[in-house]
């Protein structure tokens, strides 16, 4: 009963706060024009206040904000024949980041359709080699796991990044596959690839060797307990995944982080924002946050959360826009650790997030391209943005039915070309094995398609 009341109130709040929701929706593109004493979204971007963490193994002084290079901006080619990396913008972003104390850059051979390493290499080449740490990965998760193609990938990375050693090198996305442990062995053990990488570390071409984890916790435990000294481990950590990962597609970060502390392995954090979802929280969640810190954005909260634990070496963010970069630098220059009260606030926010029907997509593009042309992240992204804005209808009798219906349908066609929408999913599930969040993509596609049909046909639901 009490619970019912609470829901009632939050719904009313949520209607009242559409304005806030709009602000939240807009947040993705623009910084807010507010200045506060600590960590406001706008104002000065300090160049010399970045918080650094020391890598216990090498003594590296790593900036708490790390640059994720999986979302570099693209532009249309001049001859209109397709897209390419917007190198000029990449250079600007990298220069700005380095000038403001960011020194960790994380890429992979498969990022941005395979263009990320080269673009990152070009941008970094313009800076002294000792002014940055560059991380890349062994992305042999797709294919036949043979040593030769892995070695080719390794050498290709050195060339693309234009470096003669890697500061950080990761075994990419450990924990995937139907039988995670066996997949790991196939990828790195049977073919001798791990031995090769350990040798490379001895020879100094890999300064830190680690791995990134997604998926099956048994593999996490197995790899962590191996007789190999891991210099670091990259895990997904944010306030929603701390205790509320569903433990099917994601493991509670509380557990993962705890294990890393136990094994004395520094943690590198990915998805601090869940692909931007924690920057666009629903209106009720927003209002809880704004009550505590009126000037702080949800993204700031999320970054402070991810950066607060001591064993965190750096927090990666795939920043596409200068405004994001600036805001994140402000958040960590310097970091103000979360206090007890703030943790409690985020606990409440998490409850709201877990209750809402987000699709747990971080728009990482790993599932793409779909052989049948579906824009999977685009479709999920549109749906999630509507969840954030409180515009997913619970029933045809909702007060805002007409408006929300139009906005969903018109917005859908704007975000995703018609032939790439959910109704064209054939349910082949080829994408299923690629998703690091373990989303059942065909099921979610059906769910969205059903919702769309309900709106289009003006059905009662």
């Amino acid at each position: 009963m009490g619970n019912d009341n609470k829901k009632e109130i939050s719904r009313r709040n949520f209607l009242k706060l559409t304005g806030v929701a709009t602000a939240a929706a807009l947040y993705g593109c623009k910084s807010e024009n507010k200045v506060s004493a600590e960590g406001g979204a706008a104002g000065e971007v300090p160049a010399d206040k970045m918080t650094y963490r020391i890598n216990r193994n090498t003594g590296d002084r790593v900036s708490l904000l790390g640059y994720g290079c999986m979302r570099w901006p693209l532009k249309q080619k001049a001859d209109g024949s397709g897209e390419e990396i917007d190198q000029e913008t990449v250079n600007e972003l990298v220069d700005y980041a380095i000038a403001h104390g960011v020194n960790y850059f994380d890429t992979a051979p498969v990022y941005v359709r395979g263009w990320s390493e080269a673009a990152t290499g070009i941008a970094l080449k313009r800076h002294p080699r000792d002014s940055f740490f560059v991380a890349t990965k062994m992305s042999n998760q797709r294919g036949d796991f043979d040593l030769q193609s892995a070695l080719n990938m390794y050498r290709h990375s050195l060339n693309e990044l234009q470096v003669d050693y890697f500061d950080y090198y990761l075994l990419h996305t450990i924990g995937g596959g139907d039988d995670g442990i066996e997949t790991f062995r196939k990828r790195f053990i049977y073919n001798g690839l791990l031995d090769f990488l350990l040798k490379e570390r001895e020879d100094g071409r890999i300064r830190n060797l680690g791995w990134s984890f997604h998926g099956d916790v048994k593999v996490f435990d197995y790899v962590l307990a191996m007789d190999v000294k891991w210099d670091f481990c990259q895990i997904q950590l944010n306030y929603q995944d701390w205790q509320h990962a569903d433990n099917v597609r994601n493991i509670n970060a509380e557990y993962l982080y705890g294990e890393l502390v136990k094994y004395n392995v520094p943690a590198i954090i990915m998805e601090p924002l869940l692909g931007g979802r924690l920057a666009r929280v629903p209106a009720q969640a927003m209002s809880i946050m704004k009550e505590v810190h009126p000037a702080d954005s949800p993204a700031q909260w999320a970054f402070r959360y991810a950066g607060t634990p001591d064993n965190v070496l750096t927090v990666l963010s795939g920043m596409v826009y200068m405004e994001h970069l600036q805001e994140n630098i402000r958040t960590y220059a310097p970091l103000v650790p979360l206090n007890e009260q703030e943790y409690e606030t985020l606990e409440k926010v998490t409850e709201i997030l877990v209750d809402s029907d987000y699709i747990q997509c971080t728009e990482c593009q790993y599932c793409m391209p779909c052989p049948y042309g579906i824009d999977i992240p685009g479709t999920f992204g549109h749906y999630n943005r509507c969840v954030s804005a409180g515009k997913i209808l619970k029933s045809a009798n909702d007060e805002n039915y007409k408006k929300a219906r139009r906005e969903f349908l018109v917005g859908y066609d704007r975000s995703v070309p018609k032939l790439r929408q959910a109704n064209h999913c054939i349910g082949c599930a080829i994408c299923g094995t690629h998703c690091p969040q373990r989303i059942n993509i065909p099921d979610e596609m059906r769910r969205i398609d059903l919702y769309v049909e309900q709106l289009k046909q003006k059905m009662d639901f």
């Binding site: 693209l74 249309q76 793409m368 917005g411 704007r414 790439r420």
Partner: protein, 498 residues
């Protein structure tokens, strides 16, 4: 005064009729759909006796007002002729010419034979309303949509949902060609000789001309007042004033009242009396029937402006598979929309005005390329399918070729049936399980069964229950096989209830 009234009425009718072809949201039809239904030929084909009777009575009372006010093709000609008359030295450019009766009545006879014999191409080519409809839907509608897309482009940037962008696509080359030819012919004739088309080619004009000879109200030349200046004759678009004999050919007069407006001596009057034959002349100045034209031009200007700004291109996404365009399967029986009853009714009643084609929000209807049903609507599903909630075409059809139906009725009208093509199916070509056709079938007419009945682990293939299939095309449109779908709809000659 009479001329002003005619101009305002014509402009209103013209704009609203044109808008019927431009509006793709289905809102205007609710208010102004009747404007298409009072057009002469659609009313004849719809066998709407009331409208035909009213039109005949109006003509019997006032002459060929229909041609001046209601017929959009007539108003287009007035517009073109008006512009031509603005040229230097062309102000008073018309002069009397004897009627070409053999031609106009020949055309009318041909037209009637075509209706009776069911040569629909002749009927649709000659019907003035349909001719204008094709011009509007082929030339004006794309411009209108591009303009809309421009607004949608800005709306998107402003986070507004007021406008949404819509597809602009080539629906049929032949129809476009015929529309262009019509516009060219009518345009040249109007530019040089005003209403020549209406009085030589147009069968509706010829028919109404037969009636208007006997109309009650007529323009009459008062020979006593006439000074013989011939201004009236020189300004008669229909070239029907024979001032030498103080006669007006009422079968050709479209009741534009330009002559009455021009006469400085009040020698031409619109009266319910027999004309008095005395000696006199009429005087004229330049005409100024600019209302419809000005409106049309400002609309055109808007379109041209819109066209200069390109509609927005694809969004930026991360690595998308190329989607090949679908090709139209070779259907043995053309698909006509639910409400059309079947191929026969469609062929007999449709004037090919393209109103339904313009109104279809799902990209399903397009003019036919087949000779027998040329330019009449046909369904195909490369761009969308006949969605369950939509009955737009049935609501807009003025000719009764597509009868009004409700969405509920639509669920039980079988326009065709699905045919599976094994070789194209991705289950066979890509070796993946796909259930797109079954999942989207609104009537449950498709189920999946084991490809090999003795092997439980095999992939499943679709089978169609023709008894349940309504031919909506959801399966065909959403089938992943490209360019030819692995399941397509074959038309029913006569629609039936499932």
């Amino acid at each position: 005064m009479l001329k002003k009234i005619r101009q305002i009425a014509a402009a209103t009718f013209f704009l609203l009729t044109t808008l019927l072809f431009l509006d793709f949201t289905g809102t205007l039809h609710v208010l102004f759909g009747w404007m298409a239904k009072i057009q002469f030929m659609p009313a004849v084909l719809a066998a709407n006796a009331v409208i035909i009777a009213v039109l005949i009575i109006i003509t019997l009372l006032f002459g060929r007002i229909y041609c001046s006010v209601i017929c959009p093709l007539g108003i287009v000609q007035d517009g073109i002729s008006h512009v031509a008359g603005k040229r230097k030295g062309k102000k008073n450019r018309f002069r009397f010419s004897p009627p070409k009766s053999w031609l106009r009545y020949g055309m009318m006879a041909l037209f009637i034979i075509a209706i009776v014999a069911g040569i629909s191409i002749c009927v649709s080519a000659l019907d003035p309303y349909a001719a204008y409809g094709r011009i509007a839907s082929n030339f004006f509608s794309p411009l209108y949509r591009l303009g809309n897309n421009l607004l949608a482009f800005f709306a998107e940037r402003l986070d507004s949902y007021t406008f949404y962008s819509t597809d602009v696509w080539m629906k049929g080359w032949i129809t476009l060609g015929i529309a262009a030819l019509t516009l060219l012919t009518v345009g040249i004739l109007a530019w040089r000789n005003g209403r020549t088309y209406c009085n030589t080619v147009c069968p509706v004009g010829a028919f109404l001309g037969l009636i208007s000879r006997f109309s009650v109200f007529k323009l009459k030349i008062d020979a006593d007042k006439c000074t013989g200046c011939r201004l009236c004759e020189r300004n008669c678009k229909s070239s029907c004033i024979n001032l030498k004999e103080y006669k007006i050919d009422y079968s050709r007069c479209v009741g534009c009242f330009n002559c009455a407006g021009k006469c400085k001596f009040g020698a031409i009057k619109y009266l319910p009396l027999k004309p008095d034959k005395k000696k006199n002349k009429a005087v004229l100045e330049n005409n100024s029937e600019g209302q419809s034209l000005r409106n049309a031009l400002s609309l055109l200007g808007l379109f041209i402006f819109a066209k200069t700004v390109k509609a927005q291109q694809l969004h930026v996404d991360g690595g998308l598979a190329v989607i090949e365009d679908k090709k139209i399967p070779n259907r043995k029986t053309p698909l006509v929309p639910p409400g059309a009853l079947g191929a026969k009714n469609m062929k007999a009643r449709c004037t090919a005005c393209q109103l339904c084609v313009s109104a279809c929000p799902n990209g399903v209807l397009r003019p036919s390329d087949r000779l027998a049903t040329l330019m009449q609507p046909e369904m195909s599903f490369e761009r969308g399918y006949c969605r369950p909630e939509c009955t737009e075409c049935s609501q807009v059809c003025p000719a009764g070729a597509i009868k009004p139906i409700t969405p509920a009725e639509k669920t039980a009208i079988s326009t065709g049936f699905a045919v599976w093509i094994k070789e194209n199916c991705v289950v066979n070509t890509d070796n993946v399980q796909c259930d797109a056709c079954e999942r989207h079938c609104p009537t449950g007419a498709i189920i999946h069964v084991e490809a090999e009945s003795d092997n439980g682990a095999s992939l499943k293939i679709p089978v169609v229950n023709k008894e349940l299939c309504i031919g909506c095309g959801a399966c065909e449109h959403l089938c992943p096989a490209r360019p030819f779908s692995a399941i397509y709809i074959e038309g029913n000659v006569k629609h039936h209830t499932v």
